[in-house]
């Protein structure tokens, strides 16, 4: 049974009291974002100084092999912050189940909009789409400046192998487990296998779910990158490609970079902030990402049908994979004549 907000407040006062000295906790609000884990917004007031800290409690979901442990996730968050990426500051992390029954962390609360369509409305109202696209590129470059040898072992994904090969293997296993044969996925896998990009100069930290929905945006632009639960090491172009999947444009199709800006705005800013950009790799990883999300939607349908996560949203996801099939087949039509070339 999940704790109610009163129990959560009491546990927070107990935990923070033991770490920080006397603290009172109030203003708890359960955030609807995050399908699996609980995010609770709250204010902590230090009894001695009266200082008020706006914070977020994140409680990890029941053991789930798909999601990183909280130690690994918060390590990635810290590494990204050290490199200057906009992320919520991490205050506390604990695996002690005594407080909330599950591992948890407490981070700074960054004000702003996270719901994708509202984010895009805000961006449109303030005319800051190109700005956010550029800020996303710069944020990715900072995340990718974390080299693989700084990243703790559990986050490293086969640092001695070509990341595109490893990614194709992992996705191939998922495709093998789908309910119906998909010639579109097979066609895309074939193209991806025949046209692999050059491996990156070095493996880096990759966020792996960098997109509208996991970003906090305000009138001044991008404020924070959230949801580090899938992070791993690999080819940094994976993040640029995932960000550019049409689904994450939420109807703003012509704004290829996340629904915010032109692709060139993203790539130019990425390179200016020190990112090592290869244009062909960006194309390849965008096609890969489109396939990955198409397969991901089919997997959601399985999770619904098998009873693992029965949900009307997951059920309808199964029918959304035709969107990704279409995007994939058009991307392949545009790319089929290209071969991996040298640097742009």
């Amino acid at each position: 049974m999940a704790q109610d907000l009163g129990e959560v407040a009491a546990a927070l006062e107990g935990y923070l009291g033991s770490e920080w000295g006397p603290v009172s906790v109030g203003g708890l609000v359960e955030s609807s974002a995050g399908a699996r884990r609980r995010n609770i917004l709250f204010d902590a007031t230090r009894t001695d100084s009266g200082e008020v800290l706006p914070l977020v409690l994140t409680i990890s979901p029941p053991a789930d092999t798909m999601v990183l442990g909280i130690v690994e996730e918060t390590t990635a968050l810290r590494l990204a912050e050290q490199k200057g990426a906009p992320v919520p500051h991490l205050f506390e992390m604990s695996e002690d189940p005594a407080w909330f029954g599950r591992p948890f962390f407490i981070s700074g609360r960054v004000e702003g909009e996270t719901v994708p369509r509202r984010v895009l409305r805000l961006v449109e109202e303030h005319g800051i789409g190109e700005l956010v696209g550029a800020q996303a590129g710069a944020a990715m470059a900072r995340i990718h400046s974390v080299p693989v040898h700084d990243v703790p072992e559990p986050l490293r994904r086969e640092p001695d192998r070509d990341p595109s090969t490893v990614a194709l293997e992992l996705l191939g296993e998922k495709i093998d487990g789908l309910l119906r044969p998909s010639p579109s996925w097979a066609l895309a896998m074939r193209w991806l296998g025949e046209n692999q990009p050059n491996p990156p100069p070095g493996h880096t930290l990759v966020h792996a779910d960098f997109r509208n929905g996991n970003l906090i945006v305000g009138e001044d632009g991008l404020r924070a990158v959230l949801d580090w639960e899938g992070t791993h090491t690999g080819d940094p172009h994976e993040d640029l490609g995932w960000f550019s999947v049409r689904t994450w444009r939420f109807g703003h199709d012509a704004q290829v970079a996340g629904g915010f800006s032109r692709a060139e705005t993203l790539t130019r800013s990425y390179a200016e902030a020190g990112g090592d950009l290869d244009s062909y790799s960006y194309l390849w990883w965008t096609i890969f990402a489109t396939l990955r999300w198409g397969v991901g939607l089919s997997v959601q349908a399985i999770e619904h049908l098998s009873g693992v996560t029965p949900s009307i949203v997951m059920a309808v996801s199964g029918r959304r994979s035709s969107e990704l099939e279409f995007d994939l087949l058009r991307l392949l039509a545009g790319a089929s004549s290209r071969t991996p070339g040298g640097p742009a």
């Binding site: 609807s32 290829v256 244009s279 035709s322």
Partner: protein, 144 residues
């Protein structure tokens, strides 16, 4: 024969009920699920109308592409045939030696036609945007 309303007419009234009486009373995450539910009703209604012709079209396209004899197929239920034809096509595309570039290109065109068809049920209008040129692999206008 069932009495009126038809299945389509029943779905119409279900959709109207969701929009008029259910949606306005939902809050929080349920609000989103409510919109998904309305969308689901619309998908099923379109599938009832368009599905039967669509599955026959897909079967014919795949038979042509794979050059399958009609006697090789079950033939009564086009859905069963299409499943089998998709299995064969996926298998052939996954085998590097079993498909030459011309066949792969033909397969891509057929699959695109099928995907456009599926979208008329799942998400009408989605195929009016073409992502073929989204990412320029030469990086023109990008970072030099």
């Amino acid at each position: 024969m069932q009495d009126r309303p038809t299945a389509t007419e029943l779905l119409d009234v279900l959709g109207e009920f969701l929009a008029a009486d259910v949606q306005p009373n939902l809050t929080g995450p349920a609000q989103y699920r409510g919109r998904v539910a309305s969308n689901l009703v619309a998908i099923v209604a379109r599938e009832l109308e368009l599905g039967p012709a669509m599955i026959r079209r897909e079967r014919d396209l795949l038979i042509d592409l794979l050059d399958v004899g009609v006697d090789e197929l079950q033939g009564e239920d086009p859905g069963v045939d299409v499943l089998e034809l998709n299995r064969r096509l996926a298998e052939r595309l996954a085998n590097p030696a079993a498909a030459d570039p011309v066949f792969v290109d033909q397969a891509r065109s057929v699959l695109e036609a099928v995907a456009r068809d599926k979208l008329t049920v799942a998400r009408p209008g989605y195929d009016t945007y073409d992502s073929a040129g989204d990412i320029d692999p030469t990086g023109r206008g990008g970072a030099e």
